[in-house]
Symmetry: D2
Subunit: 349 residues, 4 copies
């Protein structure tokens, strides 16, 4: 099968690198163009980037000449790993010029007709792009890294028991801050009880993702109240989240766990290449899940849940973990592209 | 002034060592006897212990012969740093034999006439020891390390605005697990969402501490509902806690902060040697408090509070930090002894 | 092909667990028996062990009943992950009873007819077992974890340029101390310039491994002087070593590097299942190799070398990294077994 | 006594902040002016800097208006915490304009008449400034952070036994890279065997410091060969160094230790305010010294030595630790200023 050519915008940053690492041997997509800031454009990729991934820089990328982020690329599918300071306008320029932009940036997440997608949760929201005013082009967005693990765990609960409120306190990995990100002096032997802009994202994004698509191609936000507190800890990868939920129909502990372990959604049914066999794993050992042990579950695409127990203030409390740069960023965005492809939203080459 | 002789039970463990470090130059107390398990008894202290404190082992202790934990010590005041597996019985034996036992162990915390004391919070509960059946002896207990910081921050709120419910999620330092405690392989590049027995302690101890002494010398527990989730992180010292509170009379943010920064209690009025000038500091920088930066505030005896903001689910959320082995263990216990001394509960030598 | 049954002695410890993890899907060996101390014997494996590996405990092992370390096992091939405090006698008992013991323990490494093997370095030393007095039985040993990476890097240098002296300073991972091993309080925000017994091992083991087999089935130690200094650092896995060498025939930098990257030995020629394609990789980036990035090279079986440069005191200095629990322990021992198998030293089942 | 007014150049960076922290209550000096880059000039100090020290920003500095680094400051004594990219020229401008510049930057360390000073080691080199061509002005430099601990330990050995060669391998703290310095993703669960420019400094600076002042006001470098290898580890503060020495007259172990513990020099004799009582401490416990435990010895101004033992390749090997941002940077520079003051090199106000 001929692979579909794709381009990466913002290819030199840490999320851009993660895209390259994950797409290096992808069965459906082939990275044909790398674009970045003016400073990098014109250089060979290996000279424009400070490669920090664990696997070596794939050879086919190292000598590619980096292009500018202008809508004159050949590939009609572009993954955006752009920084929020520039993503808004560039992504819009690409969409207007007929490109399908699948973005990890926050800028367009709340645009009325732009879907904010977790493929296992709201694949039906992809319909929204038909209402966009970009002609053949479109913008589809991926949620924030700490939102994704949370909402994966919430989805089967909301479906089965209707969530009323959610309280979440996070212990987030340093890779969530990008590279160079957090100075090492700030985090060795330390935790930081603040991550700029993170709490509002966690309190609002789930409402759109769990919301209902209406006839105007917009989303009626879910009627859930969320309170979030976000902390940074000395962990490389993997966001751990302590979650409490209040449910309309309180189930038993067994029903809660069953709703997670039986959860399968469209990516599993469509057998998408990056889809985990099971989106959610439940661990009965009371000391699990842990970032070091469970972040790479299903190549980093599954969420690990554990410690479900009754809560004196809400109905239940539990812990969820997911890999913030795989499921929570590049991997999640690639899964969206696979979903678009499987559902016929992508143009043939 | 002649110093009062004291003994340390469980002197060889990490809490015992902290007692020695903090008492090495104490103006009122002088450590005259060190007691530990049979295994250590008869040895010189420096040979019986694996000294892990940052300051060198004080010379006057290093050659002291370790005694057994039998109620035949000369000092009538004993600090107990015993492990919970043995503390229950030994402490009772000492009390029956007329010793004043000030304990860091959890065993007697809920005994009906045993006070569970944070000197700034419930010094009036010391009255309870008059109802104990130990003759001249008595047992007074210090709360769990993660309880103390929390309750220090709650006290002025409860006093002024009446707390209805509290939600707390902790990021706790490894020193809280004692020594050797947590294996390094478990915590480097990791967080662990479970600490054995910790959550029940945090949900119950504050109710006794914030409760009201009744005429039977017992405590009517405070009418507050608490939910706790406890995590271990890669930090040496300092427990960070994300707290949410619901209050009967919701104050303004300014009133909340004022209640903390104006808070002074009996240890401050009595000018006790280990008392911090201010038990609570409020930091306005949104990235504060942090364990590495604030744990040693007032020699580790003050709590640091920050990030006060409205909460969509409770009234307010905020962060509190306190030093778990100083204020949360040995230092807090010493402050209790100083309070007992100032209020005339200690026998003259 | 029918797999060869093997047993693990000391199966419940961290090295024992690593054996199970690595042998779970081995093409030639099948773990049929698990043995451990009396305390564990009779229990199901999952109940006898505190599984700490990142991959879940393979199901086929979890319900196996743990046996005692007595030479009445059915499998004639046994991997020893025993602690040095008991390994000496038990391994000898097994060898006398006709078992082939491949050991990760240090006890028999210097026995006159016991080979100390790194398969890429001295596979010819396997001949020594013919001189052992154990009948059909034999003991073969694997070197210390910090020795293996070093000697892999030294082998091509010694072969081509003749080493006269070696200076090595290590930065060793905490997993080298086993589990629970190093307390977390000792290593967060710290380094420790001492590892008990490690320096003598590094100064002596390479001399036997690089030595020459004589006609008495013993080894004439190599004529090299080694000085070692060993440090523990806050790294989970991967020993980093700063090495300096003085050579009889000083080569060019290019010749040094070529000797490493062209190095292939018997495991590669025999295409052994656990053999890395290349035992040694050279990295030209001056900040490489690093534990986090390179320890899993070739599934943890290859050594990473870098930073080769002239030395004012020796001829050259460079850095070598290898995975201490894979190549440096269980993985290296399994490779020895594969070598024994390929060379016809193992009995048919 | 009226204090001498001083200014800090580069006051907003991490070394500049350390100067302020250490000078906040200095008995002889009073910081009267803060200067930094154009970007900061004109702002209040608290707005121009991102204060990262553990102690709160002293109030008397927080509202000071930051000045430009132009030689129009009132204070004639300036401490330079400037970055090497700009320090060369600015320091020279100040010296030419009659200022006494005491610098932590590397730029002028090898200028022929510029002394490179460790007050305990070569206070006689201060004479060199008389040969400088700056009129009343002068430049005096402080060595690199990893050099200082090493040379403190070498000084008594060289004096007593004459050093021929030195081999050193470092495990350096992240604070040595300044702020933000090393990204946290690079060092959690990792070590890095490379620090740009560090090894040449360690191989050369000691030769000047231990050299002999000649009649031209220059230094004849010491006849010692040094080889250095520098590593970064996950430690906040404190450089640990594994050292080997070859000596002309090989002493006994006892003589080695005595030379260290009896070492006192001019700062001790002059009783300078920042001088440690003992510049060097020797620890007999084989696991010592350690950064977390010993870096604050004598407020971070003393070096900790341990693990002295015979070396198969050199005469002896040992370990030295010193605080890189106190003794190795701001504290060392302040001690130079105190020495200049005590010896009459500083102008009266």
């Amino acid at each position: 099968m001929k692979k579909i050519g794709v381009a990466i915008l913002g290819a030199t940053g840490s999320v851009g690198q993660k895209f390259l690492e994950l797409l290096a041997e992808h069965p459906q997509f082939e990275v044909k163009e790398l674009a970045a800031s003016e400073k990098s454009a014109g250089k060979k990729y290996k000279e424009a980037t400070n490669w920090i991934m664990q696997k070596a820089l794939p050879l086919n990328f190292s000598d590619m000449i980096v292009k500018e982020c202008q809508p004159n690329l050949k590939s009609k599918i572009v993954f955006s790993a752009l920084d929020a300071s520039v993503a808004g306008e560039i992504e819009e320029d690409f969409a207007k010029a007929g490109y399908i932009v699948i973005s990890n940036a926050r800028n367009h997440r709340y645009d009325p007709n732009v879907p904010l997608i977790i493929p296992e949760v709201n694949s039906d929201h992809l319909e929204m792009i038909k209402f966009q005013k970009y002609g053949d082009g479109a913008i589809i967005t991926n949620p924030n890294c700490s939102t994704i693990g949370l909402v994966l765990a919430l989805k089967p609960l909301h479906e089965n028991f209707v969530i009323e409120s959610v309280n979440v306190v996070t212990l987030q990995a340093v890779s969530g801050a990008g590279y160079p990100g957090l100075p090492s002096m700030d985090i060795i032997d330390n935790s930081i009880p603040f991550i700029g802009g993170e709490e509002p994202k966690m309190e609002k994004e789930p409402l759109k993702i769990l919301g209902r698509l209406n006839t105007k191609g917009q989303v009626d936000f879910a009627d859930i109240v969320i309170s979030a507190q976000c902390n940074r800890v000395a962990v490389n990868d993997g966001h751990l989240e302590c979650v409490q939920v209040k449910l309309k129909k309180k189930p038993s502990i067994e029903e809660m766990i069953n709703s997670w372990i039986n959860f399968k959604a469209e990516p599993q049914k469509l057998n998408l290449p990056s889809a985990p066999k099971n989106p959610i794993y439940y661990f009965h050992e009371e000391k699990y899940p842990q970032p070091k042990i469970h972040r790479n579950l299903e190549k980093g695409m599954a969420a690990a849940v554990g410690r479900l127990r009754e809560c004196p203030l809400f109905d239940y409390k539990f812990v969820v973990l997911s890999h913030n740069t795989v499921r929570g960023a590049a991997g999640g965005t690639i899964l969206i592209a696979e979903l678009l492809h499987a559902k016929g939203y992508l143009p043939d080459e």
